[in-house]
């Protein structure tokens, strides 16, 4: 190797070749750098293009979804309104023809109408639409029964326990619809002869409604998918329902997120099927709406009766009631407990042993209206005492006198119709 170092030719070559090589190398590097730059630019361009593309696709998709939702929402709104109207008409017909053979058919029609309304309602939920008419607070048992009536095979559903809980007004429809969807799943995925069992159980955080079916159950994959749908804040929308579309869990997920309850379907029922658990937190619960139900029949007794056409029989037979009951040895012919459906109401008068209505002495008012009352009755102003006319003053004074006199005459008249009679 060393012999080459002494060769002048080599040195010559080196001297001549170095600059050439250096230039070549520098030139090459430059080209490479340029190419690299170009490539980077291209890459950036491509990325931005890609981003824009995704964005616009997403945008188009969102817009399409929104358009679909708007269209469906308004369509469903009409259908829901019609179903509601029809339900009212059916209700009236049922009362009108309550004693005839046609009632059976009316009940069937009512059932179909309820299912139809529920379908429209579910689609409306997916479109952020209208959930239905506002209901007043209702007992949990009634909400569960309402849900039961919205599915096809409702006779397979057995409600095992009643409860003392009620659901607040705004949550009545969402909870009923949720349960209806769960029951629909339960009846669809189990054998026709098996029962679906509903239990209501109070828990520290609220109340659980447990739906057990004896169906085939779900595999892990199905459970995961269900859990995802049930817990997701954002609904997959109408286009994300899959084919064939699966409404149930999607609808339930939307309702649960919006009204603040939780639904899980990840456990197995004692019968081998699915156990669905709806947990209603305390915020959605209220006391039993007993006082709200009570005034209802009372309203029917007052002039409003004329408004509700199916009620006339209420008036007719109500009058002879005391006669009937006394004639056949009834203990209490007082019609009040009958019409108000129980004791504890403000109005019903107690009865004596003899069965006569016992009048309660109402203090001085029974003789003459009190100062406030008479003032209200005459000029409608309780404070304005000086404006009372002399006639009024005289009548009040006279009444006062009559009152004290009659009071003195009957020293122990606390009650009329004493029990010892």
């Amino acid at each position: 190797m060393t012999q080459y170092f002494q060769d002048p030719a080599l040195w010559g070559l080196i001297a001549a070749g170095t600059p050439v090589a250096a230039t070549a190398i520098i030139r090459g590097r430059k080209t490479i750098a340029e190419l690299r730059k170009e490539k980077q630019e291209l890459k950036a361009h491509y990325t931005s293009l890609e981003e824009h593309y995704t964005e616009s696709v997403e945008e188009a998709k969102d817009r399409a979804e929104e358009d679909t939702k708007t269209a469906l929402k308004s369509a469903m709104r009409t259908l829901q309104g019609l179903a509601g109207e029809q339900q009212l008409v059916i209700t009236k017909l049922q009362e009108k023809y309550g004693d005839q053979q046609i009632l059976q058919d009316l009940l069937d029609i009512d059932h179909m109408n309820s299912q139809f309304a529920r379908r429209a309602q579910s689609i409306a939920v997916l479109c952020d639409g209208w959930l239905g008419r506002q209901r007043s607070a209702a007992s949990l048992y009634d909400v569960v029964r309402s849900a039961k009536g919205r599915i096809r095979h409702f006779t397979r559903v057995e409600i095992r326990a009643q409860s003392n809980f009620a659901i607040v007004s705004r949550a009545v429809e969402p909870v009923a619809l949720t349960l209806a969807e769960l029951l629909d799943n339960a009846t669809s995925y189990s054998a026709p002869e098996t029962m679906i069992e509903i239990n209501i159980r109070p828990v520290p955080k609220g109340v659980c409604i447990i739906v057990d079916d004896a169906g085939v159950g779900m595999n892990e994959e199905e459970k995961n998918r269900a859990a995802k749908l049930l817990s997701s804040e954002r609904s997959p929308g109408v286009s994300g329902l899959g084919n064939p579309p699966q409404f149930g869990f999607t609808v339930i997920g939307v309702l649960a997120a919006r009204y603040g309850f939780t639904v899980s379907v990840d456990s197995t029922s004692p019968y081998g099927g699915v156990r669905a658990v709806v947990l209603l937190p305390d915020e959605l619960l209220t006391a039993m709406p007993e006082p709200e139900l009570r005034p209802d029949p009372q309203l029917k007794e007052t002039p409003a009766v004329a408004a509700s056409s199916p009620m006339p029989p209420d008036q007719g037979p109500a009058a002879p009631a005391p006669t009937t009951s006394t004639a056949f040895g009834g203990q209490s012919p007082d019609p009040d407990p009958i019409s108000f459906g129980g004791q504890g109401h403000a109005a019903p008068a107690p009865t004596t042993m003899g069965g006569l209505p016992k009048r309660r002495r109402r203090g001085a008012i029974s003789i003459v209206p009190s100062a406030e009352e008479s003032a209200q009755g005459t000029d409608g102003d309780t404070e304005d005492v000086p404006r009372r006319s002399s006639e009024q003053a005289a009548s009040v004074m006279g009444a006062f006198q009559r009152g004290t006199r009659s009071g003195r005459r009957s020293p122990n008249a606390f009650t009329e119709g004493h029990e010892t009679q």
């Binding site: 059976q104 009834g330 459906g341």
Partner: protein, 126 residues
């Protein structure tokens, strides 16, 4: 979801629990079991009522005051008469209620006897 200013919210809503759910889809009883004037009253020694449906408890409340006609009972509830009859029939079979045939109409009285009485009276008093 429901907008509070929705005008339709003010409209009347049909009862939450539908009649066919109350009957649980069973077919309605035949007409001969209960007529509109069949009389019903609560039994003296009633089984516990805890597990009964609210509608049945209400019927028992109505009947607790003495004999009432089916038509009257139906008038006090908001249920169709046929449904009330079914519930009453359930309650009767379960021992909560006694029923009593309507007051027998006068047709059972023999017309001949009445005529004889009439003739007797006419003969006696002119």
């Amino acid at each position: 979801m429901t907008t509070p200013d929705d005008p339709e919210l003010e409209l009347e809503a049909a009862p939450l629990v539908r009649a066919y759910v109350i009957t649980n889809g069973r077919s309605l009883p035949a007409d001969d079991e209960f007529s509109l004037i069949t009389l019903v009253t609560a039994a003296q020694d009633m089984p516990p009522t805890g597990q009964l449906d609210p509608e049945k408890r209400r019927l028992l409340d109505l009947c607790s005051g003495g004999y009432l006609a089916v038509a009257e009972i139906a008038g006090h509830t908001e249920l169709p008469v046929g449904v009330v009859k079914l519930l009453l029939s359930d309650l009767t079979q379960a021992g909560y209620l006694y029923t009593r045939a309507p007051v027998p109409p006068a047709k059972l009285v023999d017309r001949r006897i009445l005529e004889e009485v009439l003739h007797g009276l006419q003969a006696r008093f002119g």
